[in-house]
């Protein structure tokens, strides 16, 4: 099983990300941890459209099940695209 994105996210721990879910909820926070299923734990979270989601007001840390994630929005300088590109080419070659 390939762990390409798991390894990539591990290197992003500590960075600010915005996770957009399939139910359209978007949460901004610091990436605390990730696992092989791409489950995500965020710290210091704020919901993007807070007024629409009053129940999330006092939530500061959360666990997000990998299966419900649509996007993970990254800081533009958080992506070493060449490193990721090389790793992908190696995987594709069967390495």
């Amino acid at each position: 099983m390939t762990y390409l994105f798991f390894s990539y996210f591990k290197d992003l721990v500590g960075r600010e990300v915005t996770v957009e879910l399939k139910n359209d909820l978007a949460i901004r926070g610091t990436l605390h941890s990730v696992d092989q299923y791409l489950n995500i734990k965020l710290e210091n979270t704020r919901v993007v459209d807070q007024d629409k989601y009053p129940h999330m007001l006092s939530v500061r840390n959360c666990f997000i099940r990998g299966s419900v994630v649509r996007y993970v929005q990254l800081p533009p300088d958080g992506v070493d695209i060449e490193l990721l590109h090389d790793a992908t080419r190696r995987e594709a070659r069967g390495g």
């Binding site: 879910l21 139910n23 909820l25 299923y37 009053p54 129940h55 006092s58 959360c62 666990f63 419900v68």
Partner: protein, 128 residues
């Protein structure tokens, strides 16, 4: 979730750090359950003790008690840790009885259905 060693629990995605804490669990069907986490597994199956469903309609809300719940992991969207020092809900929200929130839910559902059926009729007439 991977099972981590004893020193790793503070760095891993394990739900162990949430044990015995009051949590908000968001489900795929939009329900919001609150309760104390008593158990979990690698599928994010979860056991909540003293669970209640927080039903919110506009500025009205009601916590409906449910008791001991086992939630199948595939339904879980988010598990959020509630900060006990912060208000769980904005001050504009008003608690109401279960009967009243159910009436409000029904009214909201009927309004959405009406909006949907009117839209369908307009689409049929092909207005721009």
């Amino acid at each position: 979730m991977s099972w981590a060693g004893p020193d790793d629990i503070f760095l891993s995605t394990s739900l162990a750090t949430y044990l015995d804490k009051k949590l908000l669990v968001l489900l795929r069907d939009g329900r919001k359950l609150l309760g104390l986490l008593r158990s979990f597994d690698q599928f994010a199956n979860v056991v909540l003790e003293g669970a209640c469903e927080r039903v919110i309609v506009g500025d009205l809300y009601c916590d409906i008690p449910l008791g001991l719940y086992v939630i199948r992991g595939e339904n879980v969207v988010i598990i959020g840790e509630l900060d006990l020092e912060k208000e769980e809900l904005p001050s504009r929200m008003n608690p109401v009885s279960e009967a009243e929130i159910k009436r409000a839910q029904k009214a909201e559902r009927e309004a959405t259905d009406l909006k949907g059926s009117m839209r369908k009729r307009m689409e049929f007439l092909d207005f721009d």
